[in-house]
């Protein structure tokens, strides 16, 4: 029964998980990789100290 409950909800759950992970990727891209000058300067030390390619 539990299996059926999960399988009925699977598309919505999968979408929720995918959306959550993509939100994380978006934040990482913005904070860690986007090359816009203001972002780059503000995040400079963190980018170096986290091992991201910086400049």
């Amino acid at each position: 029964m539990t299996t059926h409950a999960i399988s009925a909800a699977r598309p919505a759950t999968a979408l929720t998980l995918a959306f959550t992970a993509m939100l994380g990727v978006g934040i990482l891209w913005m904070a860690g990789h986007a090359q816009a000058a203001a972002l780059h300067d503000a995040a400079h030390d963190v980018r170096h100290a986290t091992g991201f390619p910086c400049h």
Binding site: A9, I27, A43, V46, H48, P53
Partner: protein, 243 residues
């Protein structure tokens, strides 16, 4: 008929308003780990960055016959704007990682794996391997002033390496067959056999001693922070699911 029963049944904890619970666990874990990261970086990593910038801007050079003074690599005090931005962006970066981590924990849990604080350590160490150790093997953490390949090419390689390492570790942890494990080995090795973008020549202005210490510290701090992120995410997701 069966389907009707399952739908009329109260939604299981796995389905009911999942997004707010994912978000709460991830943001609290990410903020905590990000604060710790900022603190460790300010003490152990930023002094090396500041020292490297003196070489990058030409205020110090190390090619003289007598070398150059090692200088102070100790915490040099607070610069409110610069250090404040470090705290903010550190929290952002680890919140980003935490969102991905908690989503994967929830997925693993739906497939039968247990998630709690203790097992969270394993998740955290795996996250460190994926996001820091794997790319660092071919693209070592760089000090300002280090010579390096084109930044766009390095970013593409970085993402490719991190994604393939993530898939590889998932296959190692949850794969149940030799082909899955073999694919994991291929995925772990491929980005490094392909090779990361390199500078055309070596010879940056920053002393290699400083660059080596920096790379080691970045990885050490990264491991500590990721282990804590894993514990926090595991504990919080465990609590959110049961609560």
């Amino acid at each position: 008929m069966r389907r009707t029963t399952s739908v009329t049944r109260p939604a299981s904890p796995a389905t009911e308003a999942m997004f707010p619970r994912l978000l709460t666990s991830a943001l609290i874990a990410g903020a905590g780990a990000g604060l710790l990261a900022a603190l460790l970086q300010l003490i152990f990593v930023q002094p090396l960055l500041l020292q490297a910038e003196l070489y990058e801007t030409g205020q110090l050079t190390h090619f003289g016959a007598d070398g150059s003074p090692a200088g102070s690599l100790r915490f040099a005090g607070i610069d409110p704007l610069r250090d404040g931005l470090t705290v903010v962006f550190s929290m952002l970066v680890y919140c980003g990682y935490a969102l991905i981590l908690v989503a994967l924990m929830a997925l693993a849990e739906m497939r039968g794996a247990g998630v709690d604080a203790r097992r969270g350590i394993l998740w955290g160490v795996a996250g460190f391997v994926v996001a820091q150790m794997a790319p660092a093997v071919s693209l070592a953490p760089e000090l300002p002033g280090s010579l390096a390949g084109e930044v766009e090419a390095r970013q593409v390689w970085w993402f490719a390496c991190v994604i393939s390492a993530a898939v590889a570790l998932w296959l190692i942890a949850f794969g149940r067959s030799w082909p899955a494990w073999a694919a994991a080995v291929v995925l772990l090795l491929a980005p490094h056999l392909w090779g990361a973008p390199m500078p055309e020549a070596f010879g940056g202005p920053v002393p290699p001693e400083l660059a080596a210490l920096f790379a080691a510290r970045v990885l050490g701090v990264g491991l500590a922070v990721w282990a804590v992120l894993g514990v926090l995410a595991g504990a919080l997701w465990n609590g959110e699911r049961d609560g």
